[in-house]
Amino acid sequence: MPMDKNISVLIVDDYKTMLRIIRNLLKQLDFNNVEEATDGQEALAKLRAGNFGLVISDWNMQPMTGLDLLKEVRGDQRLKDTPFIMVTAESKTENVVAAKQAGVSNYIVKPFNAETLRDKIEKVLGHA
């Protein structure tokens, strides 16, 4: 079964440039239904108001970090099964372990390439 590229994707990063880069890379992968948020709180509000099939989030944001957003998503009855990929420069073991324990679907360390992004999206959407 081909991967459904019509799902809504929410990308979350406090660097507008990074949002633009990820949006363009997703567009090249034929994901055209993409929304943006610049921190965890804004993302959570959009997730609760919308219907997203994938979240791609940075970690290091204020006032709500990506890890805190992930915990909120996993603790929300309606959102808890939403695939969640962390895309971050935080590469310490304790960060990866904390994200995994919080229920992250996959973890991409910056800087990353388009191939890695595609590979992880395919894995979390169950088409690897």
Partner: protein, 192 residues
């Protein structure tokens, strides 16, 4: 009883208290203690004059803020340049439908590599953010040291992290110590 050369400095207070407790005729041990106390008093006075010579107020009031402003400007300039590059890439991508298939594919691959490379702006921005945080910590500690020696400008404590996410957020690691994507994939797989 010898008084040494202690002035009216508050740091001399403990020395004066001890001197007041000493008898007028000093034993060799008491004399040695007194000499050490006088030396300590001189060290404190020397440290104070060195701190004054550092012009700590200037460091906290002007030099560190100027340095952080410069770093903020670096981030702003690289962000502006990166956005210019992305504008150009998006314009090039708009040409794809008008190009022969092979040329469109080459253009698409090249643009993808530019997008990937442009993520440098995020990484360098985070690294500069860490330097700014370090400078602000130095600023606070200089102010605290100045205050401890009776000078104005007390340092304020940094806010503690409120969540696990904040506590673990430390930004990019140096290349020599950073985990690779393969390291992280192996770590994640170990949970399966």
């Amino acid at each position: 009883m010898p008084d040494g050369n202690l002035g009216a400095d508050p740091a001399d207070g403990p020395v004066r208290v001890v001197l007041g407790l000493l008898p007028s005729e000093l034993t060799p041990r008491e004399a040695a203690l007194l000499a050490e106390l006088e030396a300590l008093g001189r060290e404190v006075a020397r440290a104070k004059s060195e701190i004054a010579a550092l012009q700590a107020d200037d460091i906290t009031a002007s030099q560190i803020p100027a340095a952080t402003d410069e770093l903020d400007a670096v981030v702003a300039h690289t962000a502006a340049a990166t956005n210019e590059i992305l504008d150009s890439c998006e314009a090039l991508e708009g040409l794809r439908p008008r190009l022969p298939e092979e040329a469109a594919s080459v253009l698409s691959d090249a643009v993808t590599r530019i997008y990937e490379a442009c993520s440098f702006q995020d990484i360098t921005g985070q690294r500069i953010g860490k330097v700014v945080t370090a400078l602000k910590t130095i600023e606070r500690r200089v102010a605290a040291a100045t205050h401890a020696f009776g000078c104005p400008g007390a340092g304020e404590a940094a806010s503690p992290p409120r969540t696990e996410g904040e506590a673990l957020a430390s930004g990019p690691q140096l290349p020599a110590s950073a985990a690779s994507q393969q390291d992280i994939d192996r770590l994640l797989a170990s949970f399966e």
